[in-house]
C-alpha cells in the first residue's frame, strides 16, 4: 500500500469510528427526550422523532458512517474493516460517560482494553489480503 492509499485508509477509519460513535450518542440523547411510547399515537411519536434535532443529526451522521464504511470495502477486506473500526465502541463508551452520565465499570475498562488489542492486531495486517493473489 503506497503512502497516499495508507493516508486515505487512516482518514476513513477515523471517519467511520467518529461518525458511528457521535451518531449513536446523538440518537441516545434524542431518544431520552422522546415521549413515552405508550402515551402517544404512532403518528405523534413518528412526528416527534423526525422533528427532534438530536435525532436528525444522529441519523445524518449514521448515513455518513454507512457510506464511509461501504467506501472502505472497495479497497479493504471485511475482516479488516470490522475489527479496525470497532474502536467506535470505545469512543461511544467514553462519550456516554461524559454526555449521558454513564459509568465505566472495571468490566467495561477490560472490554475497552481487549477491543484496543484487537484493533492493534488487525491494523497491522494488510487491508486487502487474498493470500498472495496479485489481483
Amino acid at each position: 500500500m503506497d503512502r497516499k492509499s495508507n493516508l486515505k485508509n487512516r482518514i476513513f477509519i477515523a471517519i467511520v469510528v467518529l461518525t458511528n460513535a457521535a451518531g449513536n450518542v446523538l440518537l441516545a440523547l434524542g431518544m431520552k427526550q422522546m415521549p413515552d411510547f405508550d402515551n402517544v399515537s404512532v403518528m405523534g411519536y413518528t412526528a416527534s422523532l423526525f422533528t427532534n434535532l438530536w435525532i436528525l443529526c444522529g441519523i445524518a451522521l449514521l448515513i455518513v458512517w454507512m457510506v464511509a464504511q461501504l467506501s472502505m470495502f472497495t479497497w479493504a477486506d471485511l475482516t479488516y474493516v470490522l475489527p479496525v473500526t470497532a474502536g467506535g465502541y470505545i469512543v461511544t463508551a467514553i462519550l456516554g460517560k461524559f454526555f449521558l452520565d454513564e459509568t465505566i465499570s472495571l468490566a467495561r475498562w477490560a472490554g475497552i482494553a481487549l477491543i484496543s488489542f484487537g484493533v492493534i492486531l488487525v491494523s497491522e495486517t494488510p487491508p486487502h489480503d487474498t493470500g498472495g493473489d496479485p489481483s
Binding site: Y80, V81, A107, G111, V122, T125, T130
Partner: protein, 120 residues
C-alpha cells in the same frame, strides 16, 4: 421470542455486511473524492443490487435488534449479538475469499469479547 430476534439480528446483520462488501469490492478502489466522484459513489451504493440488498438486510438487523431490546436487557442483547463478528469472519473466508490470518482471527475474537464486556 427472544431467540428468534437474536437469530434474525445476527443472520441478517452478517448477510448484509457480506453482500454489501462483495458489491463494493467489485467496484474497485475509490480514489476520486471530488463532489462529482462522491455523487458517483452514492449512485453506485443505491443502485448496485448487492449493496442495496445489503443495506436493506442491515436495516432488518437494526430493527430486529430494537425488537430484541424490548424483550431483553442491553447487557444480554449486546454480548449475544456480538457473536456475529465470528460468523462474519468465517463467512468472509468462503464467500469473499479473504485470507484469515491468526491476527485477524484473534482480532475478531478480542473485539467480540470486548464488546460483550462493555455491555455488562
Amino acid at each position: 421470542m427472544k431467540w428468534v430476534w437474536i437469530i434474525v439480528t445476527v443472520l441478517s446483520g452478517a448477510f448484509g455486511d457480506l453482500v454489501s462488501a462483495k458489491g463494493m469490492a467489485v467496484h474497485g478502489e475509490i480514489d476520486d473524492f471530488r463532489p462529482s466522484g462522491l455523487a458517483r459513489i452514492l449512485r453506485y451504493i443505491v443502485t448496485h443490487p448487492l449493496v442495496f440488498v445489503g443495506i436493506v438486510s442491515n436495516a432488518i438487523a437494526f430493527f430486529s435488534f430494537m425488537a430484541l431490546l424490548s424483550v431483553s436487557d442491553l447487557s444480554f442483547a449486546v454480548p449475544v449479538t456480538a457473536s456475529s463478528y465470528i460468523l462474519k469472519t468465517i463467512c468472509a473466508k468462503w464467500y469473499l475469499g479473504e485470507r484469515i490470518t491468526w491476527r485477524r482471527w484473534a482480532g475478531a475474537f478480542m473485539v467480540a469479547i470486548g464488546i460483550a464486556l462493555l455491555s455488562i
